[in-house]
Amino acid sequence: MNRQETSVVERLKSALGGKIQDVYEDGRGVVVRVELSAVPDTLEALRSDASTPFNLLADVTAVDWSRWSEETGMKPPPARFSLYYNLYSISATTRLFIEAWLEDGQAAPSATPFYASADWAERTVFDMFGIRFSGHPDLRRIYMPDDFEYSPLRKEFPRRGVDPQDFPQE
């Protein structure tokens, strides 16, 4: 962590207190793990930060960990899905990741009140993983047709895709 990232994390810790579960650094950069319910507060605090305002939400992605421990033999993750918010500060050229874990069927709070770019990113996560976002203005599928019934990036989805007969013909 460089000085800027350290000071941002310090300010975030003082603003949110115990809602921050972990701060770690890996190949991506600095990742701040928070409770799912604390995601809007975190985003708001980072967006309105005085010295490094995170004014760009570059991406929202998710990871399905349901086969993690059986495939790798490592200890099971805290929940089924992890949600990542990729935040960037254009003025301070600093990147920060927000991580939140959630179970299947649990709805995540939408980031659209804070970042307009969260609209399509959350629709992508909804389309690929079936994670719902409460408070999203227009939560529809974005890549797949509206009558597609599956979530293609979930681990139980067959690798070759579903039967082509599912495509509406004529």
Binding site: P145, F148, Y150, P152, F157, G161, P164, Q169
Partner: protein
Amino acid sequence: MTPTIERGPEGGFAVGPIDGLLNLARKHSLWYLLFGTACCAIELMQTGGPRTDTDRFGMVFRSTPRQADVLVLAGTISYKMASRIRLLYDQMAEPKYVIAMGSCANTGGLFQESYAVVKGGDLFLPVDVYIPGCPPRPESLCEGLMLIQQKIEREPWLKKAWGKYKSDKPDPMPTEGCEPLR
């Protein structure tokens, strides 16, 4: 059925069945839709260029499906795009032909294992000519268009249309395989 060109005292004239004359005109004005979904579209554009000059056969691209005779499925087709392609096909006037260009339009090709890719254009359109290749060279596409020409040449189009007209069906134009999209 091919008309013969004769030389008369006041210029040339063609003799043959009206079907053949019509087909002669049709096969030399084969307009294709300027439409591509992936990298095959680059080869499609190249085919229209000066090297394999399809204009010498009367094949020019049109920018609207209402003026096009041939739909070239140039590229990977995703499920969402398939319904749009179907819409384009439905807007084309009869008689219309479809060319599946390249591996993706034939079978799904390289992206066959994707959840989003249609495994072949013939799943939702009546394909006349399949062209292998990834992507096919402009010469191959040109050959495919010439195969469509040969198909047109043998087609008793007028007889088919007249037969439909004489039967009880209200529509004089054949409409099989072109049900409107929901």
